[in-house]
Symmetry: C2
């Protein structure tokens, strides 16, 4: 009752269960936890009593004893972004079945706020921390390197000697370029984000490698912003004053917004997608990818899976399992829609 002032009855305690069942709290505890030895009859009677009274153990008390709170902290600076969302859902999914709850800590880019949250997490005796962010080559504004609890990094820069989960961006780029090659495209351009992002270089490297492997020419990647506007500009650079033979027949874009801009610009020039030019995006941001005309084929970073894996890894560290430090790169997948022509299986 959210607004009713009537004093709700306090939760049933183990003591009440025990006295209702006519046993000691020790015995009641053991009966409910499947510990100790007693007649099946006694155990069942106690359990039934607990059920009847709606007993639920106070996990604060349990945590105090067990030195394990069954909570973890999730630190992020990507509160308005779309990356942390699927990631958080994945983390949450992986943990809920283990009875572990997740504290959401929005640290923005503010060290003071970060410290505030980290202190709160430590005070609340979380079993571990997952740090996540909006880009893989920047560290959160907090030092997590000397905590006494396990830390897992996911989609943010890890500390030296820590465990981090990332998407395999180079692999994702390969998927895209290989797809173009398999479709018979020969003049494949790459339009990406700012040079200040590590992933821009990683994807560009993979782009060059795949083309080299296929004996195809690689143009210098066009670097700009992560925006539709840059997609438009890039098309101008690619096509203005060029003869047919010099223009690309495929464009691999650094994200879906760039791809959207590219597709719109091509349409406005009367250039057919996918007939004349194939386009692939990155991120598989469904709301964008499905709204482009035609719908956009895009590389998906499998962020929910990344979150799941990070959650499970943390659980295993908390459980005392050892794990090697280092970066784990998880594969991307290509989601084929209609912007490349001849869709595989479509």
């Amino acid at each position: 009752m959210s607004s009713d002032a009537s004093p709700a009855p306090p939760p049933v305690t183990l003591r009440e269960v025990a006295s209702a069942a006519g046993v000691s709290v020790a015995t009641a505890s053991k009966a409910l936890n499947g510990q100790g030895r007693m007649t099946a009859e006694t155990r069942e009677r106690i359990r039934e009593t607990a059920r009847r009274l709606g007993f639920r153990p106070n996990s604060l008390a349990q945590s105090l004893l067990r030195k394990r709170s069954f909570t973890v902290g999730l630190l992020t600076n990507d509160t308005y972004g779309r990356f942390s969302l699927p990631l958080m859902a994945g983390v949450s999914d992986a943990l809920v079945d283990a009875g572990v709850s997740v504290f959401l800590c929005n640290v923005e880019d503010d060290p003071r706020l970060g410290q505030l949250h980290v202190d709160a997490m430590l005070d609340k005796r979380v079993d571990g921390i997952i740090a996540t962010g909006k880009r893989i080559d920047r560290h959160l504004p907090i030092d997590l390197s000397n905590l006494r609890i396990p830390v897992i990094y996911a989609f943010t820069q890890p500390d030296a000697g820590a465990i981090g989960f990332e998407s395999d961006d180079a692999g994702g780029a390969r998927l895209a370029v290989e797809h173009f090659c398999a479709l018979g495209r020969r003049r494949i351009a790459h339009v990406s984000g700012p040079a200040s992002f590590a992933v821009v270089h990683e994807r560009a490297r993979a782009y060059r490698e795949v083309l080299a492997e296929h004996g195809l020419p690689a143009a210098e990647p066009l670097l700009g912003a992560w925006s539709e506007g840059w997609g438009h500009e890039a098309v101008a650079k690619l096509f203005d004053g060029k003869g047919r033979a010099e223009t690309p027949d495929a464009v691999f874009c650094g994200n879906d917004q760039i791809a959207r801009g590219v597709i719109d610009a091509l349409r406005e020039r009367g250039i057919g997608v996918p007939e004349e030019i194939g386009v692939i995006g990155f991120d598989n941001w469904e709301i964008v990818a499905e709204a482009t005309r035609p719908p956009l084929t895009s590389v998906d970073m499998n962020l929910a899976t990344l979150g799941r894996e990070a959650g499970l890894a943390l659980l295993s560290l908390v459980g005392g399992q050892a794990a090697l430090p280092g970066i784990r790169k998880l594969p991307c997948r290509l989601v084929v829609r209609q912007s490349c022509g001849r869709p595989v299986g479509g």
Copy 2:
């Protein structure tokens, strides 16, 4: 140390602080909490000792005594959506300074998952719950009506007798239509989402009211999907085979994606925005609103503020303040960009 197996020292306890300072734990506790009476000197010595040892009280133990855990649960089924994100950030912001941490519970639309999360929250003795979702006229798949802790609803349908926070959608619609009127637009159309959404009717009602107040004709709102595609279709319905006098000079759209579709369709027909037609969207989803050509004027629901208010309201209930049940509607605001011409202050 995320992967290092070296056994980290356990946290410093109050007992250790007390013995280091040569006092009893009771005195140490009182010194640190500003309770009891003792010489300022003793108090300061104890505090200094605590500081030196890096003592941080175990909030699990504190919670057990105080019957207050300084945690709340945030239930949502909008994990992939964009509504819950600013809202969650607002909630988190409002609570962090009060030392209250937020459990993130992704219940999707699964009653089993919902119950699992609610039980976990109750077991962990959260002080209260905030329920949020992706639309205002649907209830989460869980019954929150008979909990013993306060519940606040935000951007999801509340239970009878509960407290809910919503954006004032009718007010937001008024803002948009009044803006058109003030700019001298006379034939204002409304293109919105599916009739199954309550907000669609609320906004349409406000649309009609404002036009009536200005003595302007209201066309029947065009209802469809929340998508760009529907924006395109709607333009066809509005303009195909119509003479100039029958077509609108302004379109108020139910969300930014529809508005984007409308703007793109108009451009493709060679109709100038904002010269010939003004367009306003809803949601102020920045990444969309800023990418339309021209940038889109849009109604912002102030979701972060909604989250803040919800958080503060919960805090006040937890603190024992009474509050009247009912819906609190928070005002929207119009973010003026360039899709209506003559931008105010621009």
